[in-house]
């Protein structure tokens, strides 16, 4: 059973993502609303994949990526969600070690494809 962490401060969106990923049987999906909760989860539990928004209260998605790569030192695949048109943030995310990137608005199927690809890799 795989475990996926989804963080975004938009409750409607993460609830939809959770629904989608559970429907496709990717495994257990944990949703959190901000960077602090995400870090808390990451410290106490292991995840097979992280999906995070860029703009969140307390800690941004970029800080979360840095946290996972540097502090925890693990290679959990990370997908970053972000609004269109902020190219430098995207490149920054990749530099910090994000594996994939989806720009909002996106199609639920696009997300599930990317999750599938990273989980099987």
């Amino acid at each position: 059973m795989k475990k996926i962490l989804v963080c975004d401060d938009d409750e409607a969106l993460i609830s939809m993502i959770r629904f989608k990923l559970s429907k496709e049987n990717y495994g257990e999906v944990v949703k959190v609303a901000d960077g602090r909760e995400a870090m808390h989860e990451l410290i106490y539990h292991d995840f097979d994949m992280i999906i995070t928004d860029i703009h969140m209260p307390y800690f941004s998605g970029l800080e979360l990526v840095t946290f996972v790569r540097e502090k925890l030192g693990d290679k959990t695949p990370i997908i970053v969600l972000s609004v269109e048109g902020i190219e430098n943030t995207v490149t920054e995310a990749f530099q910090l070690g994000a594996d994939d990137f989806i720009s909002k608005p996106f199609s639920p199927n696009e997300l599930s494809m990317r999750v599938k690809r990273l989980l099987s890799a």
Partner: protein, 368 residues
């Protein structure tokens, strides 16, 4: 006991009424708050189930829409649930709208289209349109935002009227809403605009324009002769940000505008577009203009687009002659960026007395 009551009646004065009033209203406030909390807690518990139903139905519709053939029955069922729930109370209908819009904002493709269809089919737009009739400006704005987010092109006419609404924020939101509603001519709202453009509106408009597809981005040079100077400035800036090179000619003309803000913005735009054909004009402006801000911008612009060999001796002379610290600062900064070895030499010879100034530029994070 008797004496007490007589005292009370005899001396019931103004002051006692005051005390009574204050004590009474204090009691009312505390009771009101407690009661209100109870009621809202009760409401919340009652609404838990329908809210969950709505969440689930919308999730089903949004998540499964791309595979609509496979999950046709499930989606239909969810839609029916929503229909029943929305008819139950306006509060629940509003909850559906809020949730639906959140999802619609973040989703694209078939999911977004299906969500819009739900909004139309369940007549939720009627709830949004009703808000336009409300007396409270905040409610009106909410209605406008909802209709714009769900792309109700049918209701453009009822929204356009708010361009002349008495409340400034409503006018602003209407203009912003029209950008996404009329993609053929997104800046139509700016045409007759009299309010000064605030930074907030600039932010909102730019964020909306970024979401348009490249061919929908309007030609900003059409607004360079607007009567409102803040609009001209903004459009010059936008033309530069969307790399509209065909606006360079007009911008070059605008740098000599008598309004310093427009002049500055035009020079800044030419810098962003790296329009080297305008270099001579900017040099001319640099000699003519009196505004320090414009002069600094001219120097920075020339540093980007000008011919180094031709400008270096000119600037060197200017550094010695100039008295304004801001201009000197920019000039020396330009030298540093032009040529590393030259910069070193210059800083040794020319700036002996001004060494502190140089260090400030090296430590300036913007340069590095």
């Amino acid at each position: 006991m008797e004496t007490l009551s007589t005292i009370w009646r005899e001396s019931t004065s103004y002051y006692e009424l005051c005390a009574l009033f204050f004590a009474g209203s204090s009691g009312l406030i505390i009771l009101g708050i407690t009661l209100n909390r109870q009621v809202s807690r009760w409401k919340r518990s009652k609404l838990l189930r329908p809210h969950n139903l709505i969440k689930n139905s919308l999730n089903t519709i949004a998540a499964l829409a791309p595979d609509i053939e496979e999950y046709a029955t499930e989606i239909q069922e969810a839609q029916q649930h929503l229909q029943q729930v929305t008819q139950r109370s306006p509060g629940l209908a509003q909850f559906v709208i809020d949730r639906l819009i959140e999802l619609h904002k973040n989703l694209s493709g078939i999911s977004a289209r299906v969500l819009k269809k739900v909004y139309d089919d369940l007549h939720l737009y009627r709830v949004s349109k009703q808000k336009l009739m409300n007396g409270n400006y905040a409610t009106v704005i909410k209605g406008i935002q909802e209709l714009a987010e769900m792309r109700r092109h049918e209701d453009i006419e009822s929204i356009v009227g708010f361009l002349d609404y008495y409340h400034e924020l409503v006018r602003l939101e209407t203009r912003v809403a029209l950008i996404s509603l009329i993609p053929e001519d997104p800046l139509i709202c700016l045409k007759s605009m009299k309010d000064p453009l605030t930074k907030w509106e600039e932010i909102l408009i730019y964020n909306k324009l970024r979401k348009l597809s490249p061919e929908q981005v309007p030609a900003f040079k059409a607004y360079f002769d607007h009567t409102n100077p803040t609009v001209i400035c903004y459009c010059i800036n936008m033309a530069a940000r969307f790399l509209q090179y065909d606006a360079i000619d007009l911008m070059t003309r605008l740098i000599f505008h008598k309004n310093d803000a427009i002049s500055w913005q035009a020079v800044n735009a030419l810098k962003m577009l790296e329009a080297d054909q305008a270099a001579n004009f900017i040099l001319l402006l640099l000699q003519k203009t009196k505004s320090i801000k414009v002069r600094v911008e001219c120097i920075e612009c020339l540093a980007q687009i000008g011919d180094t060999k031709k400008l270096a001796p000119l600037f060197r002379k200017a550094i010695d002659k100039n008295k304004n610290s801001a201009v000197t600062k920019t000039l020396s900064k330009v030298f540093v960026n032009w040529d590393k070895s030259g910069a070193k030499k210059l800083s040794e010879t020319r700036f002996k007395g001004k060494s502190k100034l140089m260090v400030s530029h090296f430590s300036n994070s913007l340069i590095h």
